[in-house]
């Protein structure tokens, strides 16, 4: 929680509103801030490995090919610790994914998740991690910015495995996937109120009794006065 101001600062670089050409720029000032802290404990550590920092990756062949094949899809690209992240426009997401799968052999969707940046607009990043067996186990990460309350197009039609992953993101972040065949909660139960992985959801949890039976349990949770389930402390 103490990290909050920094979180906000860290949010924008990943998002789509950054200038498409150089999304790496806003990160650069933040990176040196971490360096002194890391160097404190050992004064005798100057010749250590440099701290990884993102670099622009718009020139990568894969990114350039994608930008040419699906105009308007690529908003930015950067590379960090050898992993390429491509920021996509939400409305071109499915088209770009289909291109990556069919033309660039990214047949395996490794993972799909989301990140809540709370005060940034768009609030969420939905993150996809693709793998190509044919390109020598090459991997690429895709990101789309999704505002709070707005739907994100589903990729479950491209990779079937996205089905449960998108359900999980829907459950825990409250991002609705447009066109998903079976968008239900998966880890919490039907009728649960709230989305636990949002930053504003309390870590200590909520009163689930009230969440399941909002009409039976008064505001603030717990059984009401006339309820036979009410436990009294004598």
């Amino acid at each position: 929680m103490a990290d909050e101001p920094k979180d906000v600062a860290a949010g924008p670089p990943a998002g789509e509103p950054a200038k498409p050409a150089e999304p790496a720029k806003p990160v650069a000032p933040a990176a040196p801030a971490a360096t002194p802290a890391a160097a404190v404990p050992k004064p005798a550590a100057p010749p250590k490995a440099p701290v990884p920092a993102p670099v622009d990756a718009m020139g990568e062949p894969l990114v350039a090919a994608l930008a040419a094949a699906v105009p308007g899809a690529v908003l930015g690209a950067r590379k960090m610790v050898g992993q390429t992240t491509v920021t996509l426009a939400p409305d071109k997401l499915v088209e770009a994914c289909r291109h990556l799968k069919d033309e660039d052999t990214f047949t395996f969707l490794v993972d799909l998740t989301a990140v809540d940046w709370k005060e940034r607009d768009p609030r969420f990043d939905v993150v996809y991690w693709l793998h190509s067996f044919a390109r020598g186990n090459e991997r690429v990460r895709l990101k789309v910015g999704v505002p709070d309350g707005a739907p994100c197009p589903t990729v479950s039609g491209v990779w079937e495995t996205a089905n449960w992953m998108e359900r999980e993101v829907f459950d825990l972040f409250g991002i609705a996937f447009e066109g998903h065949p079976d968008l239900r909660r998966i880890l919490t139960w039907d009728g649960f109120q709230g989305h636990p992985l949002r930053k504003d959801f309390p870590v200590e949890g909520i009163d689930t009794g009230a969440a399941i039976y909002p009409d039976r349990y008064p505001e603030g949770g717990g059984p009401g006065p006339g309820d036979k389930n009410r436990k009294t402390v004598s």
Binding site: D3, A30, A33, V81, L109, T161
Partner: protein, 388 residues
């Protein structure tokens, strides 16, 4: 029919449909969540036509503890014990995947000796996880004896873990940058004695099952999932290799000292439950090979650093990274988003059990209810990882 309803679960909604096996109506029944063969709390809503499964819909989340939310409240070293509790029968690989991603974002170098000890822990964990799988999968199909045999060996591994780090299951044995503890005196010799012995023990399991007619009848042709469907569902690990696809994170995206080790990736060809059994048995033998090589190396290099130069306060730079290991269940990955603070801003687990379980409806369709038990067993899920 009434017998099955009695033992498996309760009758749910009933639905009319014209042409069914027994000329009866299709029936919906609950398999679990409290059923021994679900290996935890997994509920599967079955639609059956007589004994035949028309559709199977897994219902998960009974063990959801909000682990990913908890990660965000803990500092980087404090996260490690939480990872033990994901796939709680393979804690070392969970620890490993997590420390790898933090090291990747920090740009840390890991001393060679620490790499070898990590690989030893991983492979011991793989053996113990596969032994547990073999025991439970066999007992689900009525073969009780393998359980006693495999637990005999698993016990030795757990004792070795206890010797090394004090814990038997939730090991908490790795640290960012290396390891906390050096091996205890005489540990490598004990491990070598066990490992050399393991080959004949695996032969014993094979004697019990590989040519066992009942085992073969219950597993051959059951729960087929070919390579193409495996990749479509994101299935990794032994089920993918049993389909004949030679892919293993240890070779595909090498980490630690695996490139220096000599081992093969066993594959099957029929993509059924029996082949998945054969693949796991072969993996036991390959893990044994790796362990022997590591024993040799560690005996030849008895001293050395076990922890790299790690800052006292771990604060990875702003950015994100993903790292994965080959866990006994498949590709286990962690996706870390750092905001520069001393706690992960977001830490996502790529849980192989969760993703592999997604293929269950397709594998179970058309089979008998009793085959479902074999199919759940063959995916090798751990509900702690499915539900997190």
């Amino acid at each position: 029919m009434s017998e099955i309803v009695g033992t498996v679960g309760t009758v749910g909604a009933v639905e009319d449909s014209g042409d069914t096996m027994l000329g009866l109506r299709e029936m919906e029944l609950n398999f679990g969540p409290q059923h021994p063969s679900t290996h935890g709390v997994l509920r599967i809503v079955l639609k059956v036509d007589g004994e035949r499964i028309v559709s199977a819909r897994p219902d998960i989340g009974y063990l959801h503890r909000g682990t990913e939310k908890l990660f965000e409240t803990e500092t980087y070293p404090m996260v490690i014990p939480h990872t033990d509790r994901l796939d709680y029968v393979a804690a070392a690989t969970n620890n490993h995947a997590y420390v790898l991603v933090v090291e990747k974002l920090l740009g840390l170098e890991i001393p060679k000796r620490a790499q070898y000890i990590r690989v030893v822990l991983d492979e011991m964990q793989r053996v113990s996880s596969h032994l547990l799988w073999l025991a439970t999968a066999a007992i689900d199909l009525g073969a009780i004896t393998p359980f006693f045999y495999t637990f005999r060996e698993r016990e030795v591994i757990l004792d070795l873990f206890e010797d090394y780090c004090g814990a038997r299951l939730t090991l908490n044995c790795m640290r960012v940058g290396g390891l906390q503890e050096e091996l205890t005196p005489g540990w490598i010799e004990k491990l070598r004695a066990f490992t050399e012995d393991l080959g004949s023990k695996i032969d014993e399991y094979e004697d019990l099952l590989t040519e066992n007619r009942i085992w073969k009848e219950r597993t051959i042709g059951v729960g087929i999932l070919n390579t193409e469907r495996c990749i479509a569902w994101g299935v990794t690990g032994p089920p993918l290799r049993a389909a004949g696809f030679k892919w293993d994170v240890r070779r595909a995206i090498p980490y630690e000292c695996y490139p220096e080790l000599d081992f093969e990736i066993p594959v099957g060809k029929n993509a059924d439950t029996y082949d998945r059994y054969l693949v796991r048995i072969a993996e036991l033998r390959q893990s044994r090979r790796i362990l022997l090589q590591c024993c040799d190396w560690l005996t030849a290099n008895p001293t050395g650093e076990i922890r790299g130069k790690v800052p006292r306060v771990i604060k990875p730079p702003v950015g994100d990274a993903y790292a994965s290991v080959e866990s006994p269940k498949g590709e286990l990955g962690f996706y870390l988003v750092s905001s520069g603070g001393n706690k992960p801003y977001r830490l996502r687990v790529r849980p192989p059990s969760f993703i592999n379980l997604q293929a269950l409806p397709e594998m179970a369709r058309g089979h008998m209810v009793s085959d479902l038990v074999a199919i759940i067993g063959t995916i090798d899920i751990v509900l702690g990882e499915v539900d997190r």
